[in-house]
Amino acid sequence: MSGGRVNRDGVNQGSVNQDSADAAGAEDTVKHLDLDGLLDSPETRIVVCCGSGGVGKTTTAAAFALRAAERGRDVVVLTIDPARRLAQSLGLTELDNTPREVAGIDRSKGGRLHAMMLDMKRTFDEIVLDHADPQRAEQILANPFYQSLSASFAGTQEYMAMEKLGQLRSRGEWDLIVVDTPPSRSALDFLDAPERLGSFLDGRLIRILSAPAKVGGMGAFKLLTGGVGLVTGALGKILGSNLLGEVQSFVAALDTMFGGFRERAERTYQLLQTEGTAFVVVAAPEPDALREASYFTRRLATDKMPLAGLVLNRVHRPQADITAERALAAAEELTNGKAAKRAARKSGNGAGAGAGNGAANGRAAGNGAEPPLSAQEEAQAAQLAAALLRLHAERVVQSRRERRLTGRFLASHPGIAMLELPAQAEDIHDLDGLREIIARSA
């Protein structure tokens, strides 16, 4: 290789991409998630996007919903905690707990898109208002224990997301519901928390606590038989007696109002097990996110919940077919090799000589027919090329790591369908961005 001549053979020789060769075996057998097939099928009624926090669930849910609507379905998307600008682009400027139609979508295929943001406290309040007479409802809403529970219990958000899903479903106004899930550390929380809250509110402890309030002197009698007094006594000590009293009056008000919080939770849970529901596990190609995705995938299988596949979000792929080693060696050569030294010498000798030559004069330097670049320009061009080659090498290393992690996940979940969404340089915050991310991959 001499001078500035392009050695095209060199490109090919140097570019046998070991990384893609390694991963090819695994990826050949990976089933591609047929997203359009899933979204188009009239049998698909609910799509639940789940996964650990920070993997892009909300964006994925919004992008799927938009895609389905523009392909002709009547869709509502329930988001939990969208980024502000994404929320605005969906027209979610106020948090009013009602679906609003999204403007600016392509309706030529007859589809519509509604979007809403979950307000968990309001959803809880609405359950109370719907099921109790006004006086009792007011009592409950004013109860400090209720206020804390509805605003901050770690599982309330999950429970209310389930509740809202059940409500949207029973309204029957949409033929597809896409649900985002709360941003918990563990994806399993979405499935477990409602059951926990439901069983607590409908459970043994609550009955014990409500017993004194309901039947007066019975508490003392039960003390002899079931240790109830021990329990309330100990709870009173820990919580303070006024807190216990508030819990008791909350429970009493709730109990006569609607039996079966657990029943409600169970009904929604069953809805998730029906044929029309499809779970999509969202993960980034990172160890923590894939581990959570793995737990969740197993759990869905155990509970016989239908898994459509894995969405692997924020995937990095090298654009050029050059190995990291080759790219780094080339960058090194450009910075410290013979060519760089020669360029440095040249620019030292003829300082300013070529300064007047714009890059335009030196176009297509490779074919040697036109005047060469000035030494200074040549050095700058080499620097630029070296920087980009190093960037490329980094990308290759990252991609190699992502493939390794993904390959491990796929090996332990054979047969799972997968859809890869590329990492974006910028955050997505408008409909075009949502459209494009799917268009590039589906």
Binding site: G53, G155, A365, L388, A425
Partner: protein, 363 residues
């Protein structure tokens, strides 16, 4: 150890000399646990002799993130050593569990033998630790504050701390506290103020009584100059927005805000004048790139196109990050930056991050 000395020589003056409880929060996916681990290593470094410095790393969400981070066996409720710095500083770890903390607490104050069993049988422990709002948080923060205040010479009869597994009294010497610092891998940004502000959380519920007393004791530590709450973020819109909101909430609640730790910052590889051009698709002159690649035999149109695309992506990302960095300055907090480790975080990577935190004065 020449390497350590060289690193120490470059070290900035620490920004938080008085802080003994470092609470590390961050939006999900920002690397909060990794940063907490690196910070613990950074705080444990710099002792004169091995064992001089000792830091406790506490996790409160029970996901065994610390064990995975240090590639150690599962971390239990008991404190256990998980790492030693090159200069002999020790990092201990503990996975806090609200239920165990409650039982320990009940045992300590009430000697509830049979009642504790009954409580458990009727789901009362589960109720108190997972459902009753605020109580779980009081227990977890309470247990952490206990570790912060624990004196080196103190014997923990009946506290369940008998099994530390090493003889501290020998090393205690001039040591005042059991741990020089405690680092908490805390709940995410969206929940951090509520989590730490146990006082207001239980105030509506427990106006008097033991929970209330415990909450008051916790708040004395958390609102003091001994505590700082650090926010881990990426230079992306949503985590940055959450960081700004988190700072505002924290300050409003009178809790001590610490620094911003920017994680996974990308190095800028293009000079500034190139960045703006490159940010436009096709903004770089392909002829120039081709000329640059020619000496190494890579002046192939496909390579040129691929690298131009990469340059555009990089430039857009850098400009976006610059904008987000600007936004973060509104916190008026010290900002530290940790590089993206493209090959994943292992112990070597953690040490590298810890070194960065020390050099920049975070520890």
């Amino acid at each position: 150890m020449p390497v350590t000395n060289a690193a120490e020589a470059r070290r900035a003056k620490p920004d938080w000399p008085a802080v003994r409880l470092h609470v590390v929060t961050g939006k999900g996916g920002t690397g909060k646990t990794t940063v907490a681990g690196a910070l613990a290593l950074a705080l444990a470094a710099g002792g004169k002799r091995p064992g001089d410095r000792r830091v406790l790393l506490v996790e409160v969400e029970g996901r065994q993130g610390l064990a995975q981070l240090f590639d150690a066996e599962p971390v239990a409720y008991e404190e256990r050593r998980v790492a030693v710095t090159p200069d002999g500083g020790e990092v201990w770890a503990q996975s806090l569990d609200a239920e165990q903390a409650l039982l320990e607490y009940l045992d300590m104050f009430y000697k509830l033998g049979p009642a504790a069993r009954a409580l458990r049988r009727f789901g009362a422990i589960d109720f108190a630790t997972t459902i009753a709002p605020g109580i779980r948080d009081v227990l977890l923060t309470g247990k952490t504050c206990e570790a912060v205040r624990r004196r080196a010479s103190h014997t923990h009869s009946g506290h369940g701390h008998g099994s530390h597994g090493h003889d501290r009294s020998q090393q205690a010497g001039d040591r005042v506290f059991d741990y020089d610092a405690v680092v908490m891998d805390a709940p995410p940004t969206g929940r951090i103020t509520r989590f730490l502000n146990v006082n207001s959380e239980v105030s509506g519920l427990a106006r008097v009584g033991p929970i209330r007393n415990q909450a008051d004791a916790v708040m004395r530590v958390l609102t003091s100059a001994q505590t700082a709450v650090h926010f881990v973020t990426l230079l992306e819109e949503m985590p940055v927005q959450e960081t700004l909101d988190g700072f505002a909430e924290l300050r409003e609640a009178g809790l001590p805000a610490g620094g911003v730790i920017v994680n996974q910052a990308r190095p800028v590889v293009l000079p500034e004048d190139r960045l703006k051009k490159a940010a436009q698709p096709g903004g770089l002159d392909p002829a120039e790139l081709e000329a640059g690649l020619a000496p190494v035999g890579l002046a192939d149109p496909e390579v040129v196109e691929a690298l131009s695309e990469l340059a555009t992506e990089h430039a857009q990302r850098v400009l976006l990050e610059a904008g987000q960095r600007e936004e973060l300055s509104a916190t008026e907090a010290p900002i530290y930056e940790l590089p993206l480790l493209t090959d994943g975080v292992d112990r070597v990577g953690l040490d590298q991050l810890a070194g960065q935190l020390r050099r920049q004065g975070a520890a």
